[in-house]
Structure formats: structure tokens, C-alpha cells
């Protein structure tokens, strides 16, 4: 099924795309000392509370060929609006707040005195992050990725606005179900898609729970 394959590709790509910024933002929110953390947190959490259609509209404004980023990306031969990349961006943005929350939670669990000891032993903040904070929050980051992936898989509102519904290109599972609902006789296909959706999401959540449990057990063991 094309839409299942596309959903998996979009979900995975969105997760990978948002991983570095999610880690950076989570670190700044959890450990950073600079200004604007409250503001940043509000902005990052917006996609969680805004209607997905509104998020999609704002993304369309940004990524359309006449938008601030879309124009530049278009000239570079990387169109986003009404392209599968649009579905990736929409899924990444909508899943971003949960991803950041999960990583920040994992980083909160890292004993801050370990980072202090690393600094005293001569490592810079940057090297301390790479050698202590990141490895110790890694399982939490992975469970955050699983949640973000599952969220990306179900993304509909922002995707249909930014990427449209182009079969084989941007038609992910939710969009495909929507299309089948409009046509007659698509009950069997809808059933298959719904089952695939449920299975993938359960898989994602189970993976997240498993990783979270592993993380907690590891942290307890490490204490």
C-alpha cells in the first residue's frame, strides 16, 4: 500500500529532521542559562495547542514559493509546499513539542553534579554535553523519537494544507482514509488503513514505553 509506505517514510524523515533541533531546544530549556527560555518554551509548545489547520496555514505562508523560506528552497530545487517534503515538515512541526518535552524530561533525570564534575575535570560545556548529558539521556531521546514518530504518522490537518493530497506523493494514511471516505465503496481499504494506523501507533507507543522503562531501569542501575 502506497500510503502506508509513504506514511512510514514521512514519519521517519520527520523524526530524523526534528531530532537535532529538538535535542538543542530541550538542552537549552533544561540546562541553558541564557535569556528567553520562557518565550522559547511558549513558541515550541504552540503546535501542541494550536489547531493543526492553523499550523498548516502558517507553514504554507512560510514555505509557499512566495514565502520567506519557500522562495529560497524553491530556487535551490527543494520545493516543500505540495511536495512530500511538505508532509515531512508538517509532521515534524506538529510532533516537535512532544519530542522536546520527552528529551527535556530525560535530561532532567541526568544528575547535574556529573556535568559539574566533567567541567571541573577540564571538559568544556560543549564537550560535557556530548560526553555526559547526551549519552545519559539517549534512551529518553529514543522514546521521545518513538512518540514523535507516532504523532507524525497521524498528522492530517497541517499536512493537507501544506502538502495537499497528491496520491503517491503526499497522500499519507490519514489523507488516504479521508479520500476513501469521499469515494464510494472504499470500506475495505479504509478498514485496512485504519488497522495499519492502529498497528503502527501501538507499535510506536509500545516502543516508547519499552525504551522509557529501559531508561528508568538503567538510571536506577547507574545510581
Amino acid at each position: 500500500m502506497e500510503s502506508i509506505r509513504l506514511s512510514l517514510t514521512v514519519g521517519l524523515s520527520a523524526t530524523l529532521l526534528s531530532l537535532p533541533p529538538a535535542v538543542a531546544v530541550a538542552w537549552y530549556l533544561e540546562r541553558g542559562r541564557g535569556p528567553g527560555r520562557g518565550f522559547l518554551q511558549t513558541v515550541v509548545m504552540l503546535p501542541l495547542v494550536l489547531p493543526p489547520v492553523v499550523v498548516g496555514y502558517l507553514l504554507l505562508k512560510l514555505f509557499s514559493p512566495r514565502g520567506l523560506l519557500g522562495g529560497v528552497l524553491d530556487r535551490c530545487g527543494t520545493p516543500v509546499a505540495f511536495h512530500w517534503l511538505g508532509a515531512v515538515v508538517a509532521a515534524a512541526v506538529v510532533g516537535f513539542p512532544l519530542f522536546v518535552l520527552m528529551i527535556a524530561l530525560a535530561m532532567k533525570g541526568v544528575e547535574p553534579r556529573l556535568e559539574v564534575i566533567a567541567r571541573l575535570l577540564g571538559r568544556s560545556r560543549w564537550r560535557t554535553f556530548w560526553s555526559v548529558t547526551l549519552p545519559l539521556s539517549w534512551p529518553g531521546i529514543l522514546s521521545g523519537a518513538a512518540i514523535a514518530f507516532a504523532r507524525g504518522l497521524g498528522e492530517f490537518g497541517a499536512t493537507i494544507i501544506l502538502a495537499g493530497r497528491i496520491p503517491g506523493e503526499t497522500e499519507t494514511i490519514p489523507l488516504s482514509i479521508y479520500a476513501e471516505l469521499e469515494s464510494s465503496g472504499g470500506e475495505t481499504r479504509i478498514g485496512t488503513l485504519v488497522l495499519a494506523s492502529i498497528a503502527l501507533c501501538i507499535l510506536g507507543v509500545l516502543l516508547a514505553r519499552g525504551l522509557d522503562r529501559w531508561h528508568r531501569r538503567r538510571l536506577e542501575l547507574l545510581r
Binding site: I117, A118, R123, V132, L221
Partner: protein
């Protein structure tokens, strides 16, 4: 090394540390009651707490970033990196080029490939100390490094630290509330109370002002209910029921009486003849080391003088059974 330290730290809890002292010493002890600001002072020296002016050996550390201060910190909790092996922990500092003889000196070479979770408390502390030494610090900060160790391990750790101090010529700041540790390892002691320095001077003088409570820790073999043999002398003490084998015991030095003649009709259950091995003067008190069993009794100078105690003197030690405390199996 010359230590010039002025720390001013305000905590949201209302606690304020305003400590200032200068000294020329190899090793500085910081003592005082719980909550007096000992650890906060160490944090300030290390640069973890801002607000301290720290000049060590003529170098002002105020503007030096924490990673370039050359200050190694070993706390009561060894804080090993749990995801790294002992070897990786030891070589964590960019200044640690190779292990050299440190693993042998600390007796941790067999542990190099183990993970911290598979180490005992004592082993973790030794690894933390090794990691600190290998970071080639200018000064070593130690926060209650012997806390929570049983007596045998505490003594081992103390002698190890003494060897480290002399072989690596490493200036140290040691936080401890145990007079014996300060006496053995430091030559200058700063006493804090409620965040302020109330005395700063040579350790011997500082201990003179402090309550000197030096304890005895020893082992013995249970011979019957409530009786243990310690170096050939049988002692009555309060033991849990059905105990056998070797046990660890403790007794305060000030709970041991000395007499030149055997006291009679006395409630104390332990009266045994001893020979004085050594007499150490600690200001107004005298610490008398006795042999067989090797114990220490804390007497006033007046009492020691009137008894005419000196090395070789034969005497009787008097110890109440309730003064000998059972610590656990050996």
C-alpha cells in the same frame, strides 16, 4: 601553597556564607557543624558557586572558567560517570594522557574494565580519587571523603590519601568534622559556624579549641554471649543474641578510664592491665595509647600528670560494658 579565599554566597533558603581566610599551607582542613557552609565553601572555591574570590598560589581564579581552574573535586558521593568504564572514568579529563602508576597506587588496576555499578563504595571512592589525580589539578578539594566508610576502610582511605598527598605533592582542601582526619591530613584548619569563619589557624591549635573526640574502633572474636576476646583480653559488652565469629566494635576514647591500681568493687565490667605505649598531648587533653588491646584513652592533662603516665607505664584500663558498641560482623 598560598590560599587566599573570600567567598560570599547567598542562598534562596536564607543561608549566607561569608568566609574569608588566608594561609600558607600544604593542606587546609575545613570543619564545623552540619549546615555551617563547609560544602558551600568548597563549591565556591571550585567555581560551582559564583561569588568567591579565590587566589591559589598567587593565581586569581575569579575570571578563570571552571574547566580551566585546575581544581579537582572529590565529594562523599564519588559521582563516577555511570555510562563509562573505570578506565574511561580515569581518563575522562583531557589533561589525563595515560594512567601511569595511579591505578597501582590506588589498588584499582584489576577494576579498569569494570563499570561503576559493579564497584563497591570504597572502590568507587578510589576511582574518583584516581580520576581527580589524573586530571593533574593544582589543588584537590575533598568533601567528607571518608564519610560512610567503616573504620577499617576509613583508615585505609586515610593512609592512601596521605600517600597521595606526599607522593604527588598535591595541595588539598579537606572538609571533615573528624578531628583525627584533620590532624592526620592537614596543617591548617578553618572552622566555620553559620556560614562564618570563627577560627583559622594551624590544625594543632584549631583542634585545641575543638571538642576532641577520638574514637576507638577494633575487632574481636565472640567467645560467649556478651563477651569478646580482643587481642587476648576478654571484654564484656552488649552484643546481639546468638552472635559468633569476628565482630567490629567501637568505644569512645573518653569512655576509657585509667588507674595505677586495680579498682575493686566497681560497676564497670571490664578492668584489665595494660601498658602505656604513647602519650600524646592535645592542648588541655592527653591521648594515651595503650597496648593489648591497642586502645586510646582521652584524659585531662591533670589526670595524666597525677597518674605519672609515660610510655612503658603499667596501668589498669576500666571500661563499662555499655561503652563498647557493637558495629557489625567483621
Amino acid at each position: 601553597m598560598r590560599f587566599d579565599i573570600a567567598a560570599r554566597v547567598r542562598r534562596s533558603t536564607g543561608f549566607t556564607l561569608e568566609a574569608r581566610f588566608s594561609c600558607q599551607a600544604d593542606s587546609v582542613g575545613v570543619t564545623g557543624p552540619s549546615g555551617s557552609g563547609k560544602s558551600t565553601l568548597l563549591d565556591a572555591v571550585a567555581g560551582i558557586e559564583p561569588g568567591a574570590r579565590v587566589v591559589l598560589g598567587g593565581t586569581d581564579l575569579g575570571s578563570v572558567p571552571i574547566e580551566r581552574r585546575g581544581v579537582a573535586y572529590v565529594s562523599q558521593d564519588p559521582l563516577l560517570f555511570p555510562h563509562l568504564s573505570v578506565r574511561a572514568n580515569l581518563l575522562f579529563s583531557p589533561r589525563a594522557s595515560d594512567l601511569g602508576e595511579v591505578p597501582d597506587a590506588l589498588g584499582i588496576r584489576p577494576l579498569l574494565d569494570r563499570m561503576p555499578r559493579n564497584l563497591s563504595g570504597g572502590e568507587r571512592r578510589r576511582v574518583a580519587l584516581g580520576r581527580a589525580i589524573l586530571s593533574r589539578p593544582k589543588v584537590l578539594l575533598l568533601d567528607e571523603p571518608f564519610g560512610g566508610l567503616d573504620e577499617t576502610r576509613r583508615r585505609d582511605a586515610m593512609s592512601l590519601l596521605d600517600r597521595v598527598r606526599s607522593s604527588y605533592r598535591l595541595p588539598m582542601v579537606l572538609v571533615s568534622h573528624v578531628a583525627e582526619e584533620l590532624a592526620a591530613l592537614t596543617d591548617w584548619t578553618v572552622r566555620l559556624e553559620e556560614g562564618r569563619v570563627i577560627s583559622s589557624g594551624p590544625t594543632v591549635a584549631a583542634l585545641r579549641e575543638a571538642e576532641t573526640r577520638i574514637d576507638n574502633y577494633f575487632e574481636g572474636e565472640v567467645v560467649s554471649a556478651g563477651r569478646v576476646r580482643v587481642e587476648g583480653t576478654e571484654l564484656a559488652c552488649l552484643l546481639p543474641e546468638r552472635l559468633s565469629g569476628r565482630v567490629r566494635l567501637a568505644c569512645y576514647a573518653h569512655d576509657i578510664l585509667l588507674a595505677r591500681e586495680a579498682p575493686r568493687a566497681i560497676s564497670a565490667r571490664n578492668v584489665f592491665s595494660v601498658r602505656v605505649a604513647n602519650v600524646i598531648r592535645i592542648a588541655e587533653a592527653v591521648l594515651v595509647e595503650i597496648e593489648k588491646p591497642a586502645l586510646r584513652a582521652l584524659l585531662t592533662t591533670e589526670a595524666a600528670t597525677s597518674l605519672g603516665l609515660s610510655p612503658g607505664t603499667e596501668a589498669f584500663a576500666v571500661v563499662k560494658a555499655t561503652s563498647v558498641v557493637y558495629l557489625g560482623p567483621a
